[in-house]
């Protein structure tokens, strides 16, 4: 699985971080999304998909390998 996050769309809600801390974070200076792990392991897939579905700005995309 490959994750991408678009800081141009991100509104800094932080929902992804609270869902999967191991994959997403927010930048200190502007609160926009920062990817911690672009290729999360299988056990995080479900949570990452939920983060993508929940993202209020549609800024997260998930692609299968």
């Amino acid at each position: 699985m490959r994750v991408t996050a678009d800081t141009g769309k991100c509104v800094g809600s932080g929902q992804c971080v609270l869902l999967v801390l191991e994959v997403f974070d927010q930048r200190e200076e502007d609160g926009l999304v920062a990817l911690v792990d672009e290729r999360p392991p299988p056990e995080r897939r479900e949570a990452v998909r939920q983060a993508a579905l929940s993202c209020p700005a549609g800024a997260i995309e998930v692609a299968d390998d």
Binding site: V11, G12, S13, G14, Q15, V17, L18, L19, L21, D25, Q26, E28, E29, D30, G31, L32, E46, R49, Q50, L53, S54, P56, A57, G58
Partner: protein
Amino acid sequence: MTATVPATPRLPFDRPNALDIAPLYSVLRREEPLTRVTTPAGDPAWLVTAYAQARQIFADSRFGRSHPAPEQASRVSDAAVLGGPSGEYETEEREHGRMRKMLVPAFSAPRMRRLSDRIQELTDRCLDDMRAAREADPEAPVNLHDLLAFPLPVLVICELLGVPYADRDHFRTLSTRIGIIDSGGDAQEAMEEFKAYTARLAAAKREHPEADVISDMVAVQAQDPTFTDDDLSRLAAGLLFAGHETTSTRIDYGVLLLLGDPSRRDRFVADPDGQVQATVEEILRISAPGGLGLLRYAHEDVEVGGVTIARGDAVIISSNAANRDGTVFADPDEFDPDRKPNTHLAFGHGAHVCIGANLARTELRTVFPALFRRFPGLRLAVDPAEIEVRHNRLSGALDEVPVLW
């Protein structure tokens, strides 16, 4: 009895108790997910009850909080929050952008992580108070609302914003007054008092800045002449109000949900840390405080699901109803912490999504494990159906959650 839908039903709809929502919502969602209603103020509006339409409108920038001709706008209620249009039509986008840019870092997940030990400490203090109350009068139930659900979010938001906790009774009263939907002019008057209060705080921070959000706002204002004192005091009042009422209400409703069925409580008590994340999301989805919804005005004609919403029309989005849409959530009226995914709309969606969501989640994820670890035998002292809901409160706040253990 045949259930008939009145031509333009009037909000708020009667709800049977604190935990269930009005049955009319599911009828409307099935028959007319975008429907004409009459607001509590007596004006026409659209009500959105379906998930897809709610999410679509939240995400569509053609819907805003301002109105192109505010004097002609439908009003929802007398409340000073979500009662009618807010902001200027011409400048809404710019002002909203400035607000997010200024506040997003202050409520970001990294900041909340740094705050979490402090939230734990404050929670423990509230739990100590609950135990002391129980020991002081072993015959009487303890009001969890007064000793935990209300004070905890207030303590936290006071520290974040830089508001003296000693002023809590003052802004508690103001917060209640600004959210009364049938108050005549009192809610607006209360908002003016609230703004006068936060303006005084801001003036003090201007002299002696501290490490808090109101000081940050004052610093931004010093660089931006278009950010007026009125804007700042209104925003600070909004943060103080929204920063405690909403979370306090979700703690109350979460406790009612977890205690409403002993098997739910026992399941949670068995593994609070493992279950808290999903349990909090389910509490956010199914608890449905308040009988109205979030408000938008169409900034141009927009077609949604085959219905044309005309420029200027008011749209009330019921997240409570959308979160129980059976096409998205199986058995939507069942409390099911195993639900995956749980993409509820409790914080809204789109560019206006709740800025305090990380704070709320951090508090909720701290409070429930701490509460049930301390009092694993916690139970309600009354039937949940007897918990009184005030129908005229915007936030759906409760006054009493009597518990025993």
